[in-house]
């Protein structure tokens, strides 16, 4: 069978401007008390804490601080031992449970613990 020649039809659409990709949220595990402050390339930093589990794992919004330009908020967080994760949210990324959940699930899976790989739910506001 002869190889089929592929031809691309010339588009009559004007060239689209590529949307600037928003970088992914950065997760780090919290293992001690800290002062939460937003990095320069981020709009907000969040502490998510494991508050319950059954067939799923439930994280709650625990602390959220923001940044606008050079002005940033700093808040103290006292670590009490529960599974706690810090998330730095880059500028342009919506601050919602739905947005963060898949990233959080991927981060937890990457830790290779012998923990039940239950689905992750971020509870409560902001939605």
């Amino acid at each position: 069978m002869p190889a089929r020649k592929l031809t691309r039809k010339k588009s009559d659409q004007p060239t689209r401007t590529a949307r600037r990709a928003v970088s992914a949220p950065r997760f780090t595990r919290v293992t001690k008390s800290l002062k939460l402050s937003v990095p320069p390339d981020c709009e907000a930093s969040v502490i998510l804490k494991l508050v319950g589990h059954d067939e799923r794992r439930y994280y709650a919004w625990w602390l959220l601080v923001g940044r606008y330009d050079q002005e940033t908020m700093t808040a103290s967080y006292r670590f009490t031992g529960e599974d706690t994760v810090r998330c730095d949210i880059p500028t342009g990324m919506p601050l919602s449970a739905a947005t963060l959940q898949p990233y959080l699930a991927r981060f937890l899976k990457g830790e290779h613990n012998q923990e039940d790989d239950a689905p992750v739910i971020i509870k409560g506001k902001p939605k």
Partner: protein
């Protein structure tokens, strides 16, 4: 006990391709490292098949697939593996390791919603709604009925919630679900084919039902298994238990087998220490960040539980006489262990009742017994203040305490009543009712 070699039995689950590969890699490494005085048997539960591996030097590694996949969550599957290993391997003391995922106690969920007997319709026939998940806490009235604010009438444990105005949906006429006894306790698994979990009650039954009836070393390579409730349940079927209080990582199986190969006459306690030391080496090297402890079982565990029962009795009294300090100790000061429902036992007894002389005396007895039975312990610096054993201690107002402890031997400990009284005393927020 002095030995002339060991049989290392690993009962593992490889639910994902990654998990499966991790286990098969460990098998290859163990086979490479072993000698004629350390025999290894592994039962690996994968999707659609169960494979047994036998490593008895100088023979080659043998693998056999069972004709029908075994359900890892069934105690009989573990018993069958143990019996086959006991028959097939030379007589020697046994170190059994259960390697899979886990998430602490099973049956953790919110209180079921209260029935509405006066409401016409299907609910009055079949009971009220299904229990909400932890994601949706029932309101105050759902949990405690109208008497919630009175802090009265705690439920009895193991008795199905009588007396508290709570009517679990599963106990409504026509809806009662009878669970086999082994389906209570911890949550180890799940089996890749059935999705079911093996609990510590099931483990106990499986080991007790095997031809040797017990093992020398019982290792639980899974998250959050080093808890008083779990190890108390298993105290009669093992001399030593090794487990992790926190989110656990796979053990260095090669190093463990190398330790036995280097000194086959290791005693039970020496082997337990060697396993903890192998994990400690990796923590020191920065390649892992979990924690592990080895504790004596049997009478030592009974003594610890009895001392803790006396301590819990005093702590109960403090709920009425010094609620502020009790609340602060449980909610803020005692060290949590990754799991929001568990607290480090030593941290708790040092914080709860620290201003009360009677509680301090009772706490000192708990500490004495605990340190006498703790053979070895190590923890990453990312887990500060963990000492080797955890305890169920939820901070929330809506976790169903009755069902969490149901079916376990520990439910009769006074700590169960403490939790009940503590939970009733916790203030309710508007959010409890709204969510």
């Amino acid at each position: 006990m002095t030995t002339s070699g060991w049989n290392v039995l690993v009962y593992a689950i490889g639910r994902t391709a990654e998990d499966h590969k991790r286990v098969t890699d460990a098998i290859a490494q163990m086979h490479e490292a072993t000698t004629e005085r350390c025999h290894i048997a592994v039962q690996l539960h994968g999707h659609g098949r169960t494979t047994r591996y036998w490593s008895c030097k100088p023979r080659k590694l043998e693998a056999e697939t069972l004709p029908v996949p075994a359900n890892a969550a069934e105690p009989s599957s573990l018993t069958s593996f143990l019996n086959t290993a006991h028959r097939r391997l030379p007589t020697a003391p046994v170190a059994l390791v259960l390697w899979a995922h886990s998430s602490g106690l099973d049956h953790l969920h919110d209180y079921p919603r209260k029935q509405a007997p006066h409401r016409p319709g299907l609910d009055s026939v079949f009971g009220a709604h299904d229990p909400g998940g932890l994601g949706g806490a029932p309101g105050l009235d759902d949990v405690f009925g109208g008497a919630a604010a009175s802090h009265a009438m705690p439920m009895g444990f193991g008795g199905g919630g009588g007396g508290g105005g709570i009517a679990p949906w599963r106990e409504a006429p026509g809806r009662r679900t009878r669970m086999p006894a082994e389906r209570y306790g911890c949550r180890w698994g799940p089996d890749p084919n059935t999705g079911e979990f093996l609990t510590n009650v099931g483990m106990k039954k499986a080991i007790a039902g095997s031809s040797r009836r017990r093992v020398e070393v019982l290792g639980l390579n899974a998250c959050w298994m080093a808890s008083l409730e779990i190890e108390y349940e298993l105290r009669g079927v093992s001399d030593v238990q090794i487990a992790s209080q926190v989110s656990a990582q796979p053990w260095p199986y090669r190093a463990i087998v190398e330790a036995i190969a280097a000194a086959p006459a290791l005693t039970t306690e020496q082997l337990a220490r060697a396993i903890v030391a192998s994990v400690h080496d990796e923590i020191t090297a920065g390649t892992r960040h979990d924690a592990i402890s080895a504790l004596s079982s049997g009478a030592a565990m009974d003594q610890l539980a009895a001392a803790f029962d006396r301590y819990a009795r005093r702590a109960m009294a403090l709920i009425e006489s010094d609620w502020e300090s009790v609340s602060k100790a449980v909610m803020k000061d005692a060290q949590r262990v990754d799991d929001p429902y568990q607290v480090d036992l030593m941290s708790l007894v040092r914080e709860l009742g620290k201003d009360d002389v009677k509680a301090k005396i009772a706490a000192a007895a708990v500490e004495t017994h605990f340190h006498a039975m703790r053979l070895a312990h190590t923890a990453s610096t990312t887990h500060p203040n963990v000492h080797g054993l955890s305890l169920f201690c939820p901070k929330t107002t809506h976790v169903d305490l009755t069902d969490a402890y149901r079916g376990t031997e520990f439910r009769t400990n006074t700590w169960a009543q403490f939790l009940q009284a503590f939970q009733i005393r916790l203030p309710r927020t508007p959010g409890d009712q709204a969510s």
